[in-house]
C-alpha cells in the first residue's frame, strides 16, 4: 500500500512535470506573446538552428530533463514537504502544503498555512504533526497504542505521586509541589481522554490525509534517531542521503537547493543580459564619446575583484536572496556580454542593410530592435548556458565561504562547507552536494555545447 501510493505520487509528479514543461508552459508563452501583440516570425535560419539543436541528442535530452526538473522543482512545496496536501478531520478540511506553495509563489498574498493541532485530533496549540496524523488515520491502532503508552505512563506517575504524597506535617511548599504534580497529571489524563474520544473519528475513517511524495521539509530537524546529527545515509533508517550537522534531512535540502541555485542563476543571467545588451548596444550603435567613456567605465568596473568585493559587502549586509542577485548583476553579470554585443553592433551597423535602413528613414529604435538585435543574437544565446554555470558556481562559492544566502537556506555551497569540516567522518556531506551540483551543471553544459554547435557549427576540413 505504502509503496503503491508512493509510486502513484511519483508518476503524478513526473507526468505532471513533463506535461507542464512540454505542453502547458510553451502554450502559455505563445498565448502571452500573442496577447502582447508579439508575433515572432520564425526565419528559416532560426528554424534550421532549432532543428540542428534537436538533432544533437545529448543536448536536447539534457534540455528536456533539466527543464522538466526545474519546472517540477517550482512545485516543491507540494512534493517535498512535511505538510500534508490535504487533511480532513471530522468535517474540517485544510490544504496546508498547497497554501504554503501559494504563499511562497505569490509574494503579495498572505495565505494561512497554520492548522492548530487540537483542531485535528491532536494535542496542543502548535501546528499539526501531519506525518503523525497520516499514520493515525491510516492505522488507528497506532493511536490506540499511543493512548495505551500514555495511560501506562500516567498510571506509573500516579502511583509515584500517590506514594510521595506529603503528610500534614510537611512544609507548605511540599504541598504546593504536590498539587502542581497532581494538576499536571490531571491535564495528562484529560489529554488521554481527548485522544480516546478522537479515536472514534480516526476509526470511522472521517480522518484522512494525503502527504506529499517525500514527507519532510528542508527546515525540519530529524531528531528521531538515537545518534546525534549528522546521521549517515542508510536504508534501514530511511535516510537515503543522511542528515546535515543540524539534523536536517539531505533529500529536501538537495531538492530545494537545486531550485534556489537554478533560479538564482537564471534570474542573474536574464537580468544581467538585459542590462548588458542595452549597455553594449548603446555603445556599439552610437559610438563616439558615449562609447569611449562607457568603455573606460566598463574596463574599470571589470577590474573589481568581484568575489572579494561581494564577500566584503556580504559580511556587512548579510544579504537576502534578492540582494545577492542584485550584487552579482551589478558587479559582474552585465559586463561580459557588453563586449560581444558592442562588437556585434559595431559590425552590423557598418553593414549595408543598416545603412539602407538608416537612409530610408527608419528610427533608431526600430533599426536596433528589428534589424541589428536579431543578427547579434548568436553570441548572446551561445554564451547564456555557460554564464548560468558561472552563476551557479558563484553562488556555491559564496555559500561555501559563508557569505552567501542567509544561514539555514538550503544550499549546496553551505553543505560543502559542512562537508569540508567533517570530511574524515561524514563524507556523505561532500558527496551529496558534489553529485547534485555536477549533474546539474553537466546538463547545463551539455545544453550549452549543443546550442553552440547548433548556432555556430565548427567544421574541420582537412587538407593535405
Amino acid at each position: 500500500m505504502d509503496v503503491l501510493s508512493f509510486l502513484l505520487k511519483l508518476v503524478v509528479v513526473v507526468a505532471g512535470g513533463w506535461l507542464m514543461t512540454t505542453r502547458a508552459i510553451p502554450w502559455i508563452f505563445v498565448r502571452l506573446a500573442r496577447l502582447v501583440g508579439f508575433r515572432a516570425k520564425i526565419t528559416p535560419v532560426t528554424r534550421r538552428r532549432v532543428d540542428r539543436f534537436k538533432r544533437i541528442k545529448r543536448g536536447y535530452w539534457a534540455f528536456r530533463l533539466l527543464s522538466t526538473l526545474f519546472v517540477i522543482s517550482l512545485f516543491l512545496e507540494v512534493i517535498v514537504s512535511g505538510r500534508a496536501l490535504v487533511v480532513v478531520y471530522d468535517g474540517e478540511v485544510a490544504f496546508p502544503a498547497v497554501a504554503e506553495w501559494v504563499d511562497n509563489a505569490a509574494f503579495f498574498t498572505d495565505v494561512n498555512t497554520f492548522n492548530k493541532a487540537s483542531d485535528f485530533g491532536q494535542i496542543g496549540e502548535s501546528e499539526v504533526d501531519y506525518r503523525q496524523f497520516d499514520e493515525w488515520s491510516e492505522d488507528p491502532g497506532a493511536l490506540r497504542s499511543e493512548i495505551a503508552n500514555r495511560t501506562a505512563d500516567a498510571d506509573a506517575d500516579a502511583a509515584e505521586i500517590a506514594a510521595s504524597a506529603p503528610t500534614a506535617d510537611d512544609k507548605e511548599w511540599k504541598h504546593k509541589a504536590h498539587q502542581r504534580k497532581v494538576t499536571k497529571l490531571e491535564k495528562r489524563r484529560g489529554e488521554i481522554e481527548t485522544l480516546t474520544a478522537n479515536l472514534d473519528v480516526f476509526e470511522n475513517g472521517t480522518a484522512f490525509a494525503v502527504m506529499p511524495l517525500y514527507p519532510y521539509s528542508p527546515s525540519e530537524f530529524r531528531h528521531e534517531f538515537e545518534k546525534n546529527p549528522p546521521n549517515k545515509p542508510s536504508f534501514s533508517t530511511g535516510l537515503l542521503l543522511g542528515t546535515d550537522v543540524s539534523g536536517r534531512d539531505l533529500v529536501p535540502l538537495m531538492a530545494y537547493a537545486f531550485r534556489i541555485s537554478l533560479s538564482f542563476a537564471l534570474i542573474v543571467a536574464f537580468v544581467g543580459y538585459f542590462v548588458g545588451i542595452i549597455v553594449g548596444g548603446v555603445q556599439g550603435y552610437f559610438g563616439g564619446w558615449t562609447d569611449i567613456l562607457s568603455q573606460r567605465f566598463v574596463e574599470i568596473w571589470g577590474s573589481i575583484p568581484f568575489l572579494f568585493t561581494i564577500m566584503i559587502i556580504a559580511s556587512i549586509l548579510r544579504p537576502s536572496f534578492l540582494i545577492l542577485v542584485g550584487l552579482l548583476i551589478l558587479l559582474r553579470a552585465w559586463l561580459g556580454i557588453t563586449y560581444y554585443v558592442r562588437g556585434e553592433f559595431y559590425r552590423e551597423k557598418s553593414k549595408d542593410y543598416v545603412h539602407a535602413a538608416i537612409a530610408s528613414g527608419v528610427s533608431d529604435r526600430k533599426i536596433i530592435l528589428k534589424h541589428i538585435l536579431p543578427n547579434s543574437i548568436v553570441p548572446i544565446v551561445t554564451f547564456a548556458p555557460f554564464a548560468i554555470v558561472g552563476y551557479v558556481n558563484a553562488l556555491v562559492s559564496l555559500d561555501f565561504l559563508g557569505f552567501g544566502l542567509p544561514a539555514g537556506t538550503p544550499s549546496w555551497g553551505g553543505l560543502l562547507r559542512q562537508g569540508l569540516e567533517n570530511i574524515t567522518f561524514y563524507p556523505h556531506l561532500v558527496i551529496a552536494p558534489v553529485v547534485a551540483l555536477a549533474l546539474t551543471l553537466y546538463c547545463v553544459v551539455m545544453i550549452g555545447e549543443a546550442v553552440r554547435e547548433a548556432f555556430d557549427p565548427k567544421v574541420f576540413s582537412r587538407l593535405r
Binding site: 574599470i300 556587512i316 554555470v389 565561504l401 553537466y442 547545463v444 553544459v445 565548427k458 574541420f460
Partner: protein
C-alpha cells in the same frame, strides 16, 4: 605603441582610485565598524571577568569613542579620510606626514597588529607559487589536448574527451580539490596518500634548517599535488576548448590553403602556420588568468587550508580586519590591472598586426 602603454599605465591609478574609493565608502558607511568591534571586544573581556550589570558595559566612555574615532579617522569626512588613507593628505597622528598606501603604509592589522604590508608580502608568494604552477600545468595539459581534439574533430577521441572536459567545466576547482581530498586524503577508499590540506608539514622550517633538503622538497610536492589539480580543473575546460576552436578556425583560414598550395607538408602547415596563429588568444589569456588565479585562491586556499593571500582575505573579512581587507583589495586590484597590461604586452609580441592606437 609606447604611447598606448603609457596611457594604459596612466589609467591604472585612475581605475585604482575609483575602486578603492568605492570600497572605502562602503566600508565607512557599514555598520559594525572598528568602534563596534572595540565595544564587542571589551564586552567579551568583561563577560569573561563576570559580574557587573550587562547594560552598562555596552557603552564605551565618550573619551574612548572619540579616541577611536580619531585613530580610525572617523572624525574626518569620508573624502578627507580617504585621502589620508591614500597618503595624499597629511596625517595628524603621524606628525602631519603623508603616510598612506601611496607611501606603502597600509596601517596595522586589528587581529595580529602587524603592519598590513608585511602580512601581505609574506602571504603573497604562496599564492604565486600555486598560481604559476597551476597556470603552467594547465598549459601543459590543454594545448596538446586541444590540438589533438581539433585535428580529430568529431572522432571518438574528440567526443570522449569532450565529456571529460565538460565534467571539468561543471565542477569548480575547489570542489574538485575537495573530491580529491576525500578520495586520497581520507580512509574512504583506503588510499590515504596525500595530506589533508596545508602548505607544508609542521616542522618544515626545522628540517630545512637541518639541511634535509630532499625531505623538504618531497613534503612540499606532497602538499602541492591536490591544490594544483584544483587549479588546473578550474581553467582547464575553457582553455582546452579555446585551443581547439581557435585551431579549427585557423585551419579553415585562407592562408592555410595558400601554404598547402605552396607545397608545404601538412605538419608544417598545421604546427607552424595554423598553430602560431591559434596561440594568440591563449597567450592573451595570461592576464585574465592572473585575475582568476586570485579569485580561485579564495576558494582553493580555504579548501586546502593554504595560508596564501586568498585565505588572508577570507580571514580578514571574517574577523572584520579592515586595514587587511583594504590591503588585500588593493593588491587584488593591482594584480588584475597588471594582468591586463601584461595581456596587452603579450598580444603586441605575438600578433604583429596589433597597433594600439
Amino acid at each position: 605603441m609606447i604611447s598606448y602603454f603609457v596611457r594604459r599605465i596612466l589609467l591604472i591609478p585612475i581605475t585604482f582610485m575609483c575602486i578603492t574609493f568605492l570600497v572605502y565608502f562602503v566600508m565607512r558607511s557599514a555598520p559594525g565598524g572598528p568602534i563596534e568591534q572595540a565595544r564587542q571586544q571589551i564586552m567579551m573581556q568583561d563577560g569573561g571577568g563576570g559580574g557587573g550589570a550587562a547594560g552598562e558595559d555596552l557603552e564605551l566612555p565618550q573619551a574612548a569613542i572619540d579616541q577611536l574615532k580619531r585613530y580610525y579617522k572617523l572624525d574626518k569626512s569620508k573624502p578627507h579620510g580617504y585621502l589620508i588613507w591614500l597618503g595624499l593628505a597629511p596625517d595628524e597622528d603621524k606628525g602631519d606626514r603623508f603616510s598612506g598606501i601611496v607611501q606603502g603604509d597600509f596601517g596595522r592589522s586589528y587581529l595580529w597588529s602587524d603592519p598590513v604590508i608585511e602580512t601581505i608580502t609574506s602571504r603573497f608568494p604562496i599564492s604565486i607559487y600555486f598560481g604559476l604552477i597551476g597556470y603552467f600545468a594547465t598549459w601543459l595539459v590543454c594545448v596538446p589536448l586541444g590540438i589533438k581534439k581539433a585535428l580529430n574533430h568529431r572522432s571518438m577521441f574528440d567526443t570522449g574527451s569532450s565529456m571529460a572536459v565538460f565534467l571539468g567545466y561543471s565542477i569548480p576547482g575547489f570542489v574538485a580539490a575537495m573530491i580529491l581530498m576525500l578520495l586520497f586524503s581520507t580512509e574512504l577508499i583506503g588510499c590515504d596518500w596525500f595530506p589533508l590540506g596545508g602548505f607544508r608539514s609542521e616542522g618544515w622550517d626545522d628540517m630545512w634548517a637541518k639541511g634535509e633538503v630532499w625531505w623538504c622538497i618531497k613534503d612540499q610536492l606532497h602538499h602541492t599535488f591536490i591544490p594544483i589539480i584544483g587549479y588546473v580543473m578550474g581553467g582547464f575546460a575553457t582553455m582546452t576548448i579555446l585551443m581547439k576552436n581557435s585551431l579549427l578556425d585557423n585551419l579553415g583560414a585562407d592562408y592555410v590553403r595558400t601554404a598547402f598550395a605552396k607545397g608545404l607538408p601538412e605538419n608544417r602547415v598545421v604546427f607552424v602556420h595554423a598553430l602560431r596563429n591559434s596561440m594568440i588568444p591563449l597567450c592573451v589569456s595570461i592576464g585574465h588568468a592572473i585575475g582568476l588565479m586570485l579569485a580561485g585562491s579564495f576558494l582553493l586556499e580555504k579548501t586546502c587550508n593554504i595560508p596564501g593571500l586568498g585565505l588572508l582575505g577570507f580571514e580578514s573579512i571574517v574577523g572584520r580586519d579592515y586595514p587587511v581587507i583594504m590591503g588585500v583589495l588593493v593588491f587584488a586590484v593591482l594584480i588584475k590591472l597588471v594582468g591586463n597590461i601584461l595581456s596587452d604586452i603579450v598580444l603586441a609580441f605575438v600578433d604583429p598586426r596589433v597597433r594600439f592606437s
